[in-house]
């Protein structure tokens, strides 16, 4: 017979993912009441925006086992698309965001179809090249993009009479989107599609023999991650009302990859940790500010040398193996 306690434990176990998401959501709901410093709120908002990009990128790198050094470009197209669509063309913000995301999905399809025939170094180079092209356009085409000095005067987002024009309002907006993205990604990886992607990451031949359409799956994940980056870019533009090319250069792409690596390959929860850590690191240690890229590079090299699955995943995997073996011997 199952006692009430067993029932409760089983319920908790069965709904562990949903309950963790719920707990985190409650924490995020009360966070602005506890933290009144707008600077800190601004930081946590930036974490949310980056997390949306990195969640998608982790599906592509950590699950599907591919590499992209060009996701800042999709982030840029989202941001500049929304900026130009709402400011220059005067479109309504939300529909523009959706149109831009659809456009980005087409760009990702056009880039992904040929590029995803490549793998490893070649794919890294192709996506890096794409990022450089997009960055150059942002800098050179100054009539449309505002050039190196940036694009200002982007309107704030609003829903009805609620205008998202301060840190607390942003907090609820960006974290809502981030939590939805988190939930969608968690659902995806817990499904047959997610297992297919994980299989693909480890062994393409075996995945194909099990019925995974490897080429199609890779392109789909690439598009999904690009769309998430685009949405995050749109939010970024509307939150800061200003965008400049420096937020989208290749070092930002590399930072996204580092966030994935710190969070761990194929760990959705780790993604939040990795994003937060890399975003906050320069804030905690002032000396890091000027040597940021060096430090980030060092972190990347060290983790990949010693824990190739990524920091969080590597530790979790090791602990799991330990527990399994100790139970076995007990």
């Amino acid at each position: 017979m199952m006692t009430a306690r067993d029932n409760l434990l089983y319920f908790l176990y069965l709904h562990r993912t949903g309950l963790t998401v719920l707990a985190l959501s409650v924490l995020l709901l009360v966070w602005p009441l506890l933290e009144s410093n707008p600077y800190n709120l601004g930081l946590s908002n930036l974490i949310a925006i980056y997390a949306i990009v990195v969640l998608g990128l982790n599906l592509f790198i950590g699950y599907a086992g591919q590499i992209s050094l060009g996701h800042a470009a999709f982030f840029a197209i989202g941001a500049y698309g929304s900026a130009i669509g709402t400011t220059t063309l005067g479109g309504p913000a939300w529909p523009v965001m959706i149109v831009v995301a659809l456009a980005v999905s087409l760009v990702a399809l056009a880039l992904g179809l040929p590029a995803l025939k490549l793998s490893g170094h070649y794919l890294a180079m192709a996506t890096l090249g794409f990022n450089i092209v997009v960055y150059s356009i942002l800098v050179q085409w100054d009539k449309v993009t505002g050039g190196p000095s940036g694009f200002s005067g982007i309107p704030y987002l609003s829903i009805g009479s609620v205008v998202f024009d301060n840190e607390i309002a942003f907090h609820y907006l960006v974290w809502t989107v981030a939590m939805i993205a988190l939930l969608l990604c968690l659902n995806l990886v817990r499904s047959g599609v997610g297992r297919g992607l994980a299989a693909l990451a480890e062994d393409e031949t075996a995945a194909a023999a099990l019925g995974v359409d490897t080429r199609r799956a890779k392109v789909k994940v690439f598009i999904l991650s690009a769309v998430l980056a685009s949405v995050a870019g749109s939010l970024f533009a509307h939150c800061y009302a200003f965008v400049s090319p420096d937020s989208f250069n290749i070092f930002v792409s590399v930072d996204f990859v580092i966030m994935v690596v710190v969070g761990g390959m194929g760990s959705i929860w780790g993604t939040l940790f990795g994003t937060a850590l890399i975003t906050l690191l320069p804030e905690w240690i002032e000396a890091l500010e000027s040597y940021k890229d060096i430090i980030h590079g060092l972190i990347l090299v060290l983790i990949l040398l010693f824990l190739p699955q990524g920091l969080v995943t590597g530790i979790v995997d090791a602990v799991r193996t330990r527990i399994a073996l100790s139970r076995h011997h007990a």
Binding site: L184, C185, N187, L188, R190, S191, G192, V193, G194, R195, G196, A198, A199, E202, D203, T205, A206, A207, A208, A209, L210, G211, V212, D213, T214, K220, L224, G266, Q309, T313, D317, R320, T321, A324, L325
Partner: protein, 254 residues
Amino acid sequence: MLELRNVSKWFGGLPALQDVSFCMEPGQVTALIGPNGAGKSTLINCISGVDRAQSGSICLAHHPIGALPAHKIAALGVARTFQNLKLFARLSVLDNVLTGLTVAAKRSFTVSMLRLPALRHLERQLRLRALEALDDFGLAKKAHWPASSLSYGEKKRVEMARAFVSDPRLVLLDEPVAGLNTEETAQIARHIRRQRNAGHTMLLVEHDMELVMDVADQVVVLDSGRCIACGKPEVVRSNPMVLEAYLGRMEATA
């Protein structure tokens, strides 16, 4: 069930398979034997779509599959194991077996991301099937272990559970007992016999002649890419060409 006609394959100028033809009946175990380098694994790769034969035809239930990509062949109900284990080390044992149900799972990204009740229900059914398969292969207790922490023999069994979990029409087993000790080999032999009794059609590539003679209904012998004999195990065993391929040219010793 499976019909191969004049299947040929070259690697560069080197013939790996030359005009291989044979048929497999449903519910039967066909063993594919031959010396190293005879083209056994190449043939399995061609049937499962991992590799492609350059000429000849491969038909599954009268449906040509020779030109299909691997995932489409899998969708038609062909499952396989690999000679060098191809388990997903980072996934749990259960998730490894669940990847064997890829064809039965929903393939839509949108449906998966929304995880509506219908999908939850399907996922729960798939999990039960996977656990059942693990139980069949005596691994239910280790369902939540990371696959990397299993022993070699256990990994072989997980691969077999992954191949059989979807109840496929045809299972290709590439050297299921290679590298195993006698006890583990006997265990795998029991599993193969049980799957045959359950009505599964299997193509078994194997060096272990004892196992082959024990479980096979039909034996196909390959030598340097040619099919040199095909028939019942006891007939093939006494075929002089087979003896020659295995033991070298027999000198007249009288």
